[in-house]
């Protein structure tokens, strides 16, 4: 814990006040757009339907519901299993991308993101095409049904993989070559180097990735709703209470139960933070892996396997979007892309989604990165930093459904001065930004943490103001992470359903909602077609990102090479 002390520079003055002010702003932002709305909703857990205070009666009623224990247990083991499958796989994949010399890294990097680029209905539809009772590969399940835990775990692995891989590839991206040279000089074996240098430097990333995957699985209701069959989990309990029975009080109770992972995540994050020091210091020399067949070949095969699986799922859905009526009429048709036939907004909802996602990414990236920077490099004393840190990890544990409802209740309250936001595109943007905050925050923190606070200390002793250091050193070094955050926010806003379904207005219906509506109406091919179109927009953006990535690497990351 000696390191953070370095961050507090002796020169108080402007820098300190600036950082303190920024921290206050960050706290205010998270309070207004996260804590207050959620608090507003959670108060309902202690009220009856008419708003009278009933203490713990709702909790008592909930605990005595037989399905609670079952669904909580189901959520726990499905999430644990998914985490145990995804994190090692994602680690190897990220390791291959950052610490090997396999060919085609940009392609793997792009393919890795495919699942986040597509609305969640797309893999669900694809899994039904593949493993459903009429599915092409149903025999692989040996007679087991895809509807239930098997389907949930397969779909969750698919859906969570990019989240874990993204965090881990950022965590593994920065390595100090001197450590490996020193280790080699001391005749340490490769296994030893891995366990004493690589793993410790990635601890924080591993913990973050596990926390993120676990919480994503626990809170996601889309996948269990579509493919979970009769298998109850906590998130579908919220859905049942709120959407099925309009029982907001009980929904709030389950919401609180679901917040428990957030608290666990916060504790874990604190624990990992204590063990993580800056990996890259001012004297660092970038690590450059040398070609080695024994390492590169298995990693290449693994990457090819993962990429093939991801492409197969997406490809199946894409194929389904051109089919007249699966599985009975497999004639090829373009008709499913004539969206006006299925949804009155037609193609316009796609334009709206692009606008919505663009704004979310633009505002979100700026806010997330600044908040993370202030938290990491600003004053660490006082009550505010841990509170803001907690608030930043909380959105992950808040199911979109719960967040969306809390936004209605809070922003539609007649006495709320921010009520003018309600029904506008702005509220969709703010809601999505908060909804997807945590992963971006963790990405930013991981990136910033790899920079030794000495950079700031050195510039402080040279009397360079903190914003210049930020602009000239931190920002360029972290540019790849910043771009990742931008793309992450954009693609998630393009595909999100659960929170915005309560918030869109007559003129602001996004394409992802149109996908859900088409699927509900039984137009599964049209839903697949719209999902594929959303995917195409996201892939296009990702390709631009990959293209830009090379140029930016040359421009800002040259120092990593020798």
């Amino acid at each position: 814990m000696a390191l953070p002390a370095l961050a507090v520079r002796p020169r108080a003055g402007t820098d300190q006040r600036l950082m303190q002010g920024a921290l206050l702003l960050a706290a205010a932002f998270l309070a207004v757009f996260l804590a207050l709305p959620l608090g507003w909703l959670l108060v309902r857990a202690f009220q009856d339907a008419d708003g009278a205070f009933v203490g713990l009666a709702n909790f008592a009623a909930y605990v005595t519901t037989p399905s609670l224990a079952v669904s909580a247990w189901n959520s726990l083991w499905v999430a644990s299993l998914t985490t145990a499958l995804v994190v090692p796989l994602a680690f190897c994949f990220a390791y291959a991308l950052t610490r090997s010399r396999i060919p085609g890294k940009p392609v793997f990097r792009a393919v890795m993101l495919l699942p986040v680029l597509a609305p969640s209905l797309l893999p669900a539809l694809a899994l039904i095409y593949l493993f459903g009772n009429q599915g092409m590969l149903r025999d692989l399940l040996l007679g087991h049904s895809i509807y239930g835990p098997i389907g949930i775990v397969i779909a969750q692995v698919f859906y969570c993989f990019p989240h874990a891989a993204l965090i881990l590839s950022v965590a593994l991206a920065g390595a100090d070559g001197r450590l490996y040279e020193a280790a080699a000089a001391l005749k340490a074996g490769r296994g030893r180097m891995f366990t004493t240098i690589t793993l410790p430097s990635a601890t924080y990333g591993l913990v973050s990735a596990s926390v993120v995957v676990f919480t994503l699985v626990v809170t996601d209701f889309g996948i269990p709703k579509v493919i979970g069959g009769q298998f109850p989990v906590l998130a579908t309990e919220v859905y049942k209470q709120v959407v099925g029975q309009q029982n907001f009080n009980m929904g709030a109770v389950v919401g609180i139960v679901l917040l428990l992972p957030a608290i666990a995540a916060f504790m874990l994050e604190r624990w990992a933070q204590g063990r993580q020091a800056g990996v890259l210091s001012g004297r660092s020399v970038p690590y450059e892996p040398k070609p080695r067949l024994a390492r590169d070949l298995p990693l290449l095969l693994l990457c090819l396997g993962v990429a093939a699986a991801l492409l197969a799922v997406v490809g199946t859905a894409a194929w389904g979007s051109f089919i007249r009526f699966w599985p009975y009429n497999l004639a090829f048709t373009w008709a499913n892309y004539d969206f006006g036939r299925f949804d009155s907004a037609g193609w316009d909802s796609l334009l709206l989604s692009a606008r919505f996602a663009g704004l979310t990414a633009l505002c979100g990236t700026a806010i997330v990165f600044l908040v993370a920077y202030v938290l990491e490099r600003g004053v660490k004393t006082g009550a505010l930093p841990p509170l803001v840190r907690f608030a930043a990890t909380m959105p992950l544990a808040v199911p979109g459904l719960v967040l969306g409802l809390s936004y209605i209740l809070f922003f539609n309250e007649p006495s709320n001065p921010l009520g003018f936001l309600y029904g506008t595109l702005a509220i969709l943007v703010l809601n999505s930004l908060v909804h997807f905050y945590t992963v971006c925050h963790l990405t930013a923190v991981t990136a910033i943490r790899q920079l030794d606070p000495e950079f700031e200390s050195a510039s402080a002793s040279l009397k360079v103001p903190v914003w210049i250091t930020f602009w000239r050193v931190t920002l360029p070094i972290c540019l790849p992470a910043i771009l990742e955050i931008f793309v992450y926010l954009f693609v998630n806003a393009m595909t999100t359903v659960s929170a915005v379904i309560f918030l869109y207005g007559p003129d602001t219906k996004p394409a992802s909602i149109a996908v859900v509506h088409m699927d509900e109406a039984g137009q599964s091919s049209a839903a697949a077609a719209m999902a594929c179109t959303i995917l195409a927009v996201n892939v296009a953006l990702k390709l631009v990102h990959v293209g830009m990535g090379g140029a930016i690497d040359r421009w800002t990351q040259g120092w990593r090479r020798r």
Partner: protein, 340 residues
């Protein structure tokens, strides 16, 4: 940068069209109607009621209802047009509906409108629970075509029946309410106990069972009548069966939201929704209409269709809803493992 510019241009464009629409009163209408109904309903209403413009917010019944209740402190909708009467009764109990008897609403069938004076809601049409029966799967698995509910108890249907979870789907509730109405309380639960043996899964949405049956995932999906028509038109090999031993039904209904800022325009729209012209419009999609003179142009409905409906007291059912759902959840929801 380009995207920001585009966004700004689009925003200006949006403002311009909104300014243009200012001359007409813009009514925000919340609905659970099917997508394909929105355009013709909007066109007909705007033609019949000059000076209004309809802005739809459409979602599934549960989502729209949850949203209306959550927005209670500061309602955003002016009119609800096409939502389950069970939802409207819930809103009525929360005192969220504006009492208004639309001109001519007395002509509606008595069972299809609010019993209060002035009325709080008016019915449009009825939709009933129905079985989506996949002929291809039936051929492969030798499933006999069901004509009454009890046919589904045949062991041949084991693992081939899928129905909506009544605790999360309005269609699911309407289905079991129909059984209770037709068979009586105790026999209905006994029936459900046995049906449970054949049910593969209880879905969260009301249209999912029919979608599943249409894709051949299961032989029989318990859903509602209208859903299946669209699927059959797309080429799904399904038959829509309205069992002859009594089916539960639900009304699609209209109401004005208390606190609307456009009360006058909302009333004029409500007047239109109970006319015969509007009923003919509903008749393009549904067979049983609230307006006795309305003409239904839907094909393939059995002639004695109306006789198959159980007699149903919506208010009494709505009041017992929680109790019925608790019992259902106790009996069937705690079982976690999906059967094969």
């Amino acid at each position: 940068m380009r995207r920001i510019l585009l966004a700004v241009v689009a925003a200006i464009g949006l403002c311009a069209t909104q300014a243009e629409a200012q001359q007409r009163t813009r009514l925000t209408v919340y609905t659970a109607l099917e997508n394909e109904q929105l355009a013709p309903f909007k066109a007909a209403a705007e033609r019949a009621v000059p000076g209004i413009e309809i802005a739809w917010v459409r979602d599934s019944t549960g989502v729209i209802t949850a949203r209306l209740i959550a927005e209670r402190a500061n309602p955003r909708a002016d009119v609800i047009w096409g939502l389950s009467v069970f939802s409207l009764l819930q809103l009525e109990a929360a005192d969220m509906l504006e009492p208004y008897t639309p001109a001519g609403a007395e002509a509606l069938r008595p069972n299809f409108r609010s019993a209060r004076t002035p009325m709080t809601w008016t019915g449009m049409d009825a939709f009933v629970s129905a079985i989506c029966f996949n002929r291809v799967v039936a051929g492969q698995r030798n499933l006999p075509r069901p004509t009454v509910w009890t046919d589904l108890l045949n062991p041949a249907f084991r693992g081939q029946v899928v129905m909506p979870n009544p605790a999360s789907s309005g269609t699911g509730f309407l289905t079991i309410a129909g059984w209770i109405g037709a068979m009586g309380e105790a026999p209905a639960w006994a029936f459900m106990d046995r049906l449970h043996e054949n049910v593969q899964t209880y879905t969260h949405s009301g249209s999912a069972p029919c979608n599943n049956a249409a894709r051949g995932e299961y032989g029989a999906g318990l859903s509602f009548d209208m859903r299946s028509v669209a699927l059959r038109n797309q080429g799904a090999p399904i038959d829509v069966i309205v069992p002859t031993d009594g089916v539960g039904f639900d009304l699609e209904a209209t109401a004005i939201l208390r606190g609307t800022r456009n009360l006058e325009a909302a009333r004029r729209l409500a007047d239109f929704t109970v006319t015969q012209a509007a009923a003919d419009l509903y008749g393009r999609f549904y067979a049983l209409l609230a307006h006795p003179a309305g003409r239904s142009t839907v094909e393939n409905y059995p002639a004695d269709f109306a006789a198959r409906l159980v007699s149903q007291d919506f208010s009494a059912l709505a009041a017992r809803r929680d109790e019925i759902l608790r019992e259902w959840t106790r009996r069937y929801d705690g079982k976690s493992a999906p059967r094969n």
